[in-house]
Assembly symmetry: C2
Homo-oligomer: 243 residues x 2
């Protein structure tokens, strides 16, 4: 793990790093010392580790919750090279979206393609970050919506260090089997008027999660219109389970 | 409005009153002076104004939020006489529940029967309570689940003084038209494994609410198993909209 830049702003220190071929960013409260709970944040499709929604959440989680927060560019996203194989899967998804109708199948194919790499990558990032003396091997949470949920469900299902997760904005296509292995508390966000994910598909993914401690928060609005107060709510949820 | 008893416990004063034939209870912070936001609480079917769930919520809303909180026995509930006409409607509901299947129709008939009286009664209680100098004509919220939702939806739809409402644990039967006139912010609670209200019926009632500012919170568990953390969440919701 190699740190390439460290900057501080408004009480939060942002550490850019690379781990092998994975570019990542770690946020901590300024002058963080000793172990603290950690949140892994998975960005959305076509986005990257410093997408505005990621940065805004991460800075609040660090500043207000005292968390360490880490995000990484998903395979074929952000600063990472986009392979030809990814191009073919993406073209399939775009063709499906252009044709209209339920794009759950092509979306699931995309996430399945990516998660074969992203799940072991998250484990490697988690291993490396937990080695840092200002993070340590404390409780771990995961936050990821849309593609961050599609790559997050198989990761949370596979990684026993994750103790709580904020997921959502995605349907059940391709995820039912992994969801049935998620047993940690989950906060699931659903947009009632989601223009990308059919409502029934989102409800079905919530339903498929095995955990008893799951809560669905549904708000009006389209895919990208999650209300700001859900950030406060996610912070409280993660603090309750990891704090 | 006639006060019949006033007692104080743990920082909250409980005032029992009667307004005409309506027995009610008003909770305020001890030594409350001057106007404050008001929450009306509608109890569940077969319950009454001092059912444990009502009292527990009301005391927290008063102690932690500084609210005035009022509950009243619904028609044919609590200390009030049960009329023969009510007996017939109740027998119809019980027969439907014993027969199994969707009891949404008989439940809606019961709530429609009761709300013809409860809606004007809530208005009379609101008029009277707002005359008190330690309550005043400030912002008003409504909290009611199950039957408290069935009687609450037509009340909130009809009463412009209500600015926010916590509703839920009920389906759309008989309420679609009133729900389409609810335009204030709503927090809607749904139990994912509700043994009295079919999930689809509850989702349909949430869907029918006209307001843009509505949020659904769905938790696992049966009808009576709303998690305790939803009380904190309701208090924050009501404080945000009325505080």
């Amino acid at each position: 793990m190699r740190f390439t830049s460290t900057t501080s702003h408004d009480g939060v220190t942002e550490h850019l790093f690379t781990l092998g071929e994975i570019p990542g960013v770690l946020w901590t409260p300024d002058d963080a010392a000793g172990p603290r709970p950690l949140i892994l944040m998975g960005h959305g499709g076509g986005q990257h580790k410093q997408a505005p929604g990621i940065v805004a959440h991460a800075r609040r989680f660090a500043a207000e919750g005292g968390f360490a927060v880490v995000a990484a560019d998903a395979p074929h996203h952000g600063e990472r090279p986009k392979g030809e194989d990814f191009g073919r899967v993406l073209a399939g998804l775009r063709a499906g979206m252009a044709a209209g109708g339920d794009n759950g199948g092509p979306l699931a194919a995309m996430h399945e393609f990516l998660s074969e790499r992203s799940v072991p990558e998250w484990r490697a990032v988690l291993d490396a970050v937990q080695e840092l003396d200002f993070v340590g091997a404390g409780p771990v949470g995961y936050w990821g919506l849309s593609m961050g949920c599609g790559l997050g469900v198989p990761f949370v299902a596979a990684e026993p260090r994750v103790r709580a997760a904020v997921l959502g904005l995605l349907g059940v296509h391709g995820l039912a089997e992994a969801a049935a292995r998620v047993t940690v508390p989950v906060r699931f966000l659903l947009q009632w008027d989601d223009d990308l994910v059919p409502r029934e598909q989102g409800l079905a993914l919530f339903d498929a999660l095995a955990t008893a401690g799951k809560t669905l928060h549904a708000n009006r609005g389209k895919h990208g219109e999650v209300p700001a107060f859900e950030t406060d709510s996610s912070l409280r949820f993660l603090t309750r389970h990891l704090g």
